[in-house]
């Protein structure tokens, strides 16, 4: 072993491990939510949840549009939001930490609390079912 080996190992681990640890397909993330929710996901319940207001000003659809195979628009800033359905934007639901971060933020805004595993499973099942 030469003296560079520890450095190369450290660099490789620090650069690539976080990506490997967080990367997951939408289907893999759905499987985790389904498991945590006790076994099944209901896409039509997810669609209803997505389009309903939950005692506050906004629904998910307010910013993401009712059929999120198309772009949405932020309700206050008007900034364009790329489609949420994975079939319309390959960058959607490919990173567990990012998915969890946005569920946490947006469920707080829309529902006033964090969403349950069942609610996340239902919504994600519906989003995965959408085709452009």
């Amino acid at each position: 072993m030469n003296r560079m080996t520890p450095l190369i190992t450290t660099l490789s681990a620090s650069l690539f491990f976080p990506l490997l640890a967080a990367a997951a397909t939408p289907q893999e993330q759905l499987a985790t939510y389904v498991q945590n929710a006790g076994g099944r996901a209901d896409a039509s319940a997810g669609q209803a949840f997505f389009n309903a207001k939950h005692g506050r000003d906004w629904s998910c659809a307010t910013c993401h549009s009712a059929t999120p195979t198309v772009s949405g628009k932020h309700a206050t800033t008007s900034k364009a939001i790329t489609p949420l359905a994975p079939s319309a934007d390959a960058a959607r639901f490919n990173d567990v930490a990012k998915t969890e971060k946005w569920f946490r933020r947006n469920c707080n805004d829309v529902v006033g609390r964090e969403c349950s595993a069942a609610e996340k499973a239902n919504v994600l099942a519906w989003l995965i079912s959408l085709k452009p």
């Binding site: 003296r3 560079m4 520890p6 450095l7 450290t10 660099l11 620090s14 650069l15 976080p18 932020h74 206050t76 800033t77 008007s78 900034k79 364009a80 971060k101 946490r104 933020r105 947006n106 707080n108 805004d109």
Partner: protein, 159 residues
């Protein structure tokens, strides 16, 4: 000299680890010119609004905004603790040095720097349907998504 980390690779290692935290090593190496915002700033803040230039608010405003991200103008914009530290530091380091007062609610679009830069824009222009909000930077600043607000990149829509 540390035997395991000779000088040159150690520099590379530091730059690489900065990259992990979203700090662009090239921005540090590129002294003189205005630095691009860190990748983390674009990722966390520019999902909902343009990556506002740090120099448009005083450091005290950034400190207040960054400590209340869970209640950020009506939305939960919270970030993890490490990201909050990194971004707070960058915002304070690049904050306005000439703004002596904080704008109402620490709103950048109510600040003296923003108002001065936009003093030639009439109320009729602001009310155009494609603009509407002072926070809708992308309506006129064509490269605002990357944090570039140069006057050369401004295209004001006709309606």
């Amino acid at each position: 000299m540390n035997k395991r980390f000779p000088r040159m690779p150690r520099t590379l290692a530091i730059l690489a680890s900065l990259g992990m935290f979203g700090v662009n090593p090239m921005a540090i190496a590129n002294d003189g010119k205005r630095q691009a915002p860190p990748a983390k700033y674009i990722e966390e803040c520019a999902s909902c609004h343009a990556p506002f230039p740090a120099k448009m608010l005083p450091a005290a405003s950034w400190t207040t905004l960054m400590s209340s991200l869970d209640r950020h103008f009506g939305t939960d914009a919270s970030v993890d603790a490490a990201t909050a530290i990194t971004l707070s530091q960058w915002l304070r380091d690049n904050a306005s040095r000439r703004m002596s007062t904080r704008p109402p609610e620490d709103r950048l679009t109510k600040g003296s720097e923003f108002l001065r830069e936009h003093r030639e824009i009439s109320p009729a222009v602001w009310s155009r349907p494609t603009i509407k909000s002072a926070g809708n930077c992308a309506a006129c600043h064509t490269n605002s998504a990357e944090g570039r607000f140069s006057e050369h990149d401004v295209r004001i829509p006709k309606q």
